[in-house]
């Protein structure tokens, strides 16, 4: 608190009353009204019954663990494997997508930082950014066009005789994984690029001079440097993939539901907000725990993210 006050007085002395008030009010609003209160209120909601409006505030309106119980157990007391499996599958799928992104983005980040020069480098940066100006929904749609039963992949595959009946890539979740991996490439490349770029290229050359094979140079010299970028990118990709809704809705096979879709159903189809809130809390807590765990494993701090 004292430090906050000190920061405020520094602002006041440096930028004047108007600016200091503007900063103080805006940041407080943001932190309290936009970030903290909604989460608290969702948390509060998740501990309540789904009551009709006229019963709110009556005796029936008290705290309960019902909503969470129903995530873990069915009505008959057996474990709710359906929903739990959906959560687990979402996390595993998000992890797979993250790993795919790390693998395909690392070489590009390296080429961008230390291989490409001048016009080529510029074109590559523009080329990386342009697809992200195109609506997320349309990007997912593109993959549906690509992988549909009369899509280009099936047509070519059959023409080349690789398979002879259209493969249902959507049901097999291939389209979904591709679409998700595609969707967050940019978020993976740039943090990686920033980290790798800081590496002095002569170090790579020195290591090569000493006769180290390329893979070893990367393992010992480039990767350690790229690590914070990789973790930062991976965190964002993981969180966004696990929280994705549009791509699973558009590209997901009918048999594999994403956990966010479950939440969506509770809210918009069953109109059970408390249940939906509880599921949202479960998603949030699991994701954050998972990410913090990963950060602990890789020894990186949250402050590195977004850099």
């Amino acid at each position: 608190m004292k430090q906050l006050k000190l920061a405020y007085t520094t602002l006041l002395a440096k930028h004047g009353m108007g600016a200091a008030l503007f900063v103080a009010i805006s940041v407080s609003l943001w932190v309290v009204l936009f970030i903290t209160l909604p989460q608290l209120s969702m948390l509060d909601y998740s501990f309540r019954f789904n009551l009709p409006a006229d019963q709110l505030g009556t005796d029936a309106d008290h705290y309960t663990l019902d909503q969470y119980r129903s995530f873990f157990f069915n009505n008959d007391g057996s474990v709710n494997t359906l929903d739990i499996m959906i959560l687990v599958r979402t996390l595993i799928a998000a992890l797979i997508v993250t790993v795919i992104d790390v693998l395909i983005c690392y070489p590009i980040a390296y080429i961008l930082a230390h291989g490409a020069k001048g016009v080529a480098a510029r074109l590559m940066v523009i080329g990386l950014i342009i697809p992200y100006w195109i609506n997320e929904i349309l990007r997912a749609f593109a993959f549906r066009v690509l992988f549909g039963s009369t899509g280009v992949v099936n047509t070519w595959g059959m023409q080349m005789g690789l398979w002879d009946a259209p493969v249902d890539f959507i049901r097999a979740d291939v389209a979904l994984y591709c679409g998700l991996a595609y969707a967050y490439i940019l978020l993976m490349v740039f943090p990686m690029y920033n980290a790798i770029e800081a590496l002095d290229h002569t170090q790579v050359e020195a290591a090569r001079d000493m006769g180290a094979p390329l893979w070893r140079v990367h393992w010992r010299v480039v990767l350690p440097m790229a690590k914070p970028g990789i973790v930062s990118g991976a965190t964002m990709v993981f969180m966004l993939t696990a929280g994705a809704l549009a791509a699973p809705q558009i590209l997901g096979g009918p048999s594999s539901l994403w956990f966010t879709q479950l939440i969506y159903q509770w809210f918009n189809e069953s109109s059970n907000w408390p249940r939906g809130s509880a599921y949202a809390v479960v998603l949030l807590v699991t994701c954050i725990t998972f990410v913090l765990l990963m950060m602990r494993v890789f020894k990186v701090s949250v402050g590195e993210i977004g850099k």
């Binding site: 600016a19 503007f22 969702m42 709110l56 359906l82 039963s149 009946a165 966004l240 809130s277």
Partner: protein, 394 residues
């Protein structure tokens, strides 16, 4: 070393094919008259899907809503992001990293969670205060989006602030400016370019957002949610036409920006006079960003006009006739088999629209995993995709 360069080049090529391939293919389907977006079989070249796109009332209404919401979000998120960046620059290290974590969190929190928590909170506030007017799709969407969009703006401002030389402010104070004057005349002008890019990024983010908006927008719809419900209902190439438009706008923007950046760089680096491109008055004029923009707009305008005059009805009628003939043929042969199959699978009934746009119409619910999806026609559906399962949009 050469082998590696070769490998690098090949990899980059493959990578960018992955990045652009789907977009190019999608864009191509916009010009195929087939009712289902596909490249092969190619039926007729048409520009009709563009007309269909603009005729879609729900999308156009969503577009209006998106503009209103986007303006609101930019107007609030940019100042909030700036305030966040300024606050971070004055805090002692420990507190700074704490606040940074809090402010960056909304980017990482699943958008679904943000959307839910926003409607839950404002629902409670509304019930508590009776201020029912707050509980509308526009307001809630703006509030919900600001939560994380401000963080994007903040990242832009932090990057810019890091390059600010604090002695500039001190110099202004020393020369007699009040702190407020120094802020307005020195720091804000320095931040101006960042304000521009932050506004652009926040607008784009607001426009694009689906996960949060789909909850907060309530019964309204934005461009993106309308688009999503259209895609989920089934697809037709008018979406590809939309992609063509967006890709074109993006390319025009990128090229103009590139011309601008190049020129600025050349001028500030003093290379302008040495580079032959800028020395020759003709090429110099041609590479002016304004001219580049004008040329692009003219060319695209021309193409659009030519396209709007193009009539593909004759070709389409021929293709339709051919299809009908063939369908008749097939029908005669395989009627029995089709019937058997339909009886076995259950009937493909499009779900009626609920208030939320028939959320799972396109995806199917887990309870009915075998429900056939409109966009994956049965084994022989390839040829009939467009006819046996017509995609109807309201």
């Amino acid at each position: 070393m050469n082998r590696h360069t070769l490998f690098g080049g090949a990899y980059a090529l493959a990578f960018f094919s992955f990045l652009f391939g789907p977009l190019v293919i999608m864009a191509t389907t916009a010009f195929n008259s087939s009712r289902f977006p596909r490249v092969a079989p190619w039926e007729c070249f048409t520009t009709g899907w563009f007309g269909e796109l603009f005729g879609n009332a729900r999308l156009m209404e969503g577009l209006m809503n998106s503009v209103i919401i986007g303006v609101g979000v930019v107007a609030l998120a940019v100042p909030i992001g700036l305030a966040g960046a300024l606050a971070l620059s004055e805090l002692p290290p420990k507190l700074r990293s704490m606040l940074y974590t809090v402010l960056i969190l909304p980017i990482l929190i699943p958008g679904v969670v943000l959307g839910i928590s926003t409607i839950v909170l404002w629902g409670q506030i509304t019930r508590g205060t009776g201020a029912g007017f707050l509980y509308n799709g526009y307001f809630l969407t703006i509030v919900g989006q600001i939560t994380f969009v401000s963080a994007y703006a903040m990242l832009v401002f932090i990057a810019r602030l890091q390059r600010f030389d604090a002695t500039q402010t001190e110099a202004a104070l020393d020369l007699g400016a009040t702190p407020g004057q120094a802020f307005r005349k020195i720091l804000l002008p320095f931040m101006a370019p960042a304000i521009g890019s932050a506004a652009f990024i926040t607008l784009l983010a607001s426009f694009e957002n689906y996960n949060t908006t789909v909850f907060t927008v309530l019964s309204e719809s934005t461009f993106t949610t309308a688009l999503a419900s259209k895609v989920r209902h089934g697809t037709d190439p008018s979406l590809s036409a939309l992609a063509v438009i967006i890709i074109t706008l993006t390319l025009v923007g990128a090229l103009t920006n590139e011309a601008y950046q190049r020129r600025k760089e050349a001028e500030s680096g003093g290379r302008a006079s040495r580079s032959p491109l800028y020395a020759n008055p003709v090429t110099r004029a041609l590479t002016h960003p304004g001219i580049v923009f004008a040329i692009l707009v003219t060319v695209i305008g021309g193409i659009t006009y030519a396209g709007s005059q193009y009539d593909s009805s004759v070709c389409e009628a021929a293709v339709l006739q051919e299809k009908l003939d063939r369908q008749e043929e097939l029908r005669a042969e395989q009627r029995a088999r089709i019937e058997a199959q339909e009886a076995e699978q259950g009937v493909t009934v499009p779900k009626p629209d609920s208030a939320f746009g028939g959320a799972f119409g396109g995806v199917g619910t887990p309870a009915a995993p075998a429900a056939p999806k409109p966009e994956s026609p049965s084994a022989f559906g390839g040829a009939f995709g467009g006819i046996t399962a017509p995609e109807v949009d309201e």
